[in-house]
Symmetry: C2
Subunit: 347 residues, 2 copies
């Protein structure tokens, strides 16, 4: 088996000491070009890869990055974001010899336990932190643990951690404009948990745009779960003066909202326009197909991985602003019944 090749084998084969092999491998000064070439050639030829455990023992690194995802115990929400995020991160990690340690936990306590465990066992060199809350307990916990971390979203207080963010302003602006141009005058927004920064920012931007277009706005609080998305939609539809369009904070809530509208016998998008915000693929496969904002989670993954590695290696890394989210126009938004083409109910 090739399982047992060690640095000593390489050293012997190249006729040098193992110390020199280490220096050569890590691009340290003090190795002649000739020796370095030979060592690397031998290493490659033997198929040797340094064991990260042994390496980490000296360097105090784990060569691994941690992602802890919290999902409520009963409803494991369908979140299209993470698979793509991880795939994006993976592309960076693989070529840098790193690995992703993932934990999915049911509640806040287990989440903190997971951070502590991964940290005290020196399993990872840093963390990705998603879904940041205001005054997030995790920020405190992480600064306490002294582990590098990058934050996804734009919190008020990231406590010095680099932030990866995407500008939704332009997208939300386009989305509200799109609805206004279709003739909508009263638009609702079903927010995610507004303790989360990105949910609040989206809300603020929504309100600003409605003002700019002179539209009436309605806001319903939810928490990004389809369950609450459905409940918020019921409240909206119960209102005699109900909005003609609803923008949801993410796609799962939008899909659940569509189901509620169908259930009430509304025809979509004639009686009600609906839009999401994650640009998830699932939006292609519901009826009607879901208008949304593009999000490209794999971009988040790449950027977050690069930033976190830089932070770990250099002690500091700049924030990253991803390209603005763009409007994906699909079939769930149209002129409200009564306006425009006098859209005659069902065909």
């Amino acid at each position: 088996m090739d399982q047992k090749i060690t640095i000593d084998d390489v050293a012997k084969e190249a006729g040098v000491s193992k110390g020199l092999v280490s220096l050569a491998l890590n691009d340290r000064p003090g190795v002649s070009a000739e020796a370095k070439g030979r060592i690397l050639r031998v290493a490659d030829q033997l198929g040797w890869r340094p064991d990260p455990r042994a390496r980490g023992l000296s360097t105090r690194r784990a060569y691994a990055l941690g992602l802890i995802v919290r999902r409520s115990p009963h409803v494991i929400e369908v979140d299209p974001f993470f698979a793509a995020f991880i795939a994006g991160a993976e592309a960076v990690l693989a070529e840098r010899g790193q690995v992703l340690v993932l934990s999915v936990v049911p509640d806040v306590d287990s989440e903190l336990d997971a951070y502590r465990r991964l940290s005290s066992e020196r399993r990872v060199d840093g963390f990705f932190v998603t879904d940041l809350l205001d005054d997030d307990h995790r920020v405190r916990a992480l600064t306490g643990l002294g582990k590098p971390a990058v934050v996804l979203g734009r919190p008020d207080d990231a406590a010095g951690m680099p932030v990866i963010s995407r500008d939704y302003s332009a997208g939300i602006s386009k989305l509200v404009g799109h609805l206004a141009e279709l003739g909508h005058r009263r638009i609702a927004h079903v927010t995610g948990n507004t303790a989360m920064q990105h949910a609040r920012i989206r809300l603020e931007r929504f309100l600003a745009e409605c003002r700019a277009w002179g539209l009436e706005s309605v806001v319903e609080q939810a928490d990004f779960s389809p369950e609450q998305g459905a409940a918020a939609t019921r409240r909206l539809l119960d209102d005699p003066n109900r909005p003609t369009a609803v923008i949801y904070g993410n796609d799962p809530m939008a899909i659940a909202g569509m189901a509620v509208a169908h259930e009430r016998g509304l025809s979509l998008p004639g009686d009600l326009s609906i839009a999401g915000m994650d640009g998830s693929d699932m939006g292609e496969w519901v009826y009607p197909t879901l208008t949304s904002l593009g999000n490209a989670p794999s971009q988040w993954g790449r950027a977050a991985a690069e930033t976190l590695l830089r932070l770990i290696e250099e002690g500091t890394a700049p924030d990253v602003e991803l390209p603005g989210a763009d409007l994906i126009r699909r079939a769930s938004t149209a002129a409200p019944a009564g306006t425009a083409h006098h859209n005659t109910k069902e065909r």
Copy 2:
């Protein structure tokens, strides 16, 4: 910081050699009850956790398990299975001091690379293998790498790897029976990729049940993606003699199928009954709510993690058969239009 507690600190504090601490910690014989108690107490009090790197260097273990998920590069499918699966596995891993290393890759080549890398860098002690194909390249690759692995699903040839499976027979039987009792006479099945074992088994069971109930059956091939689920549904609905009910190999395909039916102006479930097979939460939030078979992915996670750890530690582990999948009756299945309550048969 508590970062720097080492076995030597514990040994010193307890007044013994570090070797003895190690023996005590690992429940090895030759440690007096008195010393053992004192050592464990001191360790606990100091909050010491052995460093898995150092440990692994001697024991040749990584104390980590690998899961590699392949998703097509463009369409990152929405798969509710994995989050719950991982959460289930996590519960076992956490209490056994293990960690989950996850990789999401776009294609087969990267997938094999990932297995090789995790293995040659000794990053993991074993793998979870999902979505097994007939004559799967991964089985060969893994046996070549000599890493323990457990397989999810029931392949013909698992090459000696333990298999975790769930019996769908009873569930499919109930589902077909449910449709038959409602008065359906012609039922379709949209399969997943039948190169995958579990897809084939479901198909066979479906056909057997239709025969048993004297129903006509139609089969359309798809691959578990919503895209192909939609295409298969179009083909079915194009047929003048179209079925009155469709059973899909998983929930995403079923949801896509519902969208196609809506798009054609069919009323669900009156004009067409639809059922999925994953029992995913999303089925609760579409319209109409989706009849499905319960799957409880977290059970898969627990069982797979326990089996894999046992395999690693003892060199062998028995197969596990999870409780049979049960029918989840929701709103997407009903008597076909025209039959109404003609529904007699037996129950």
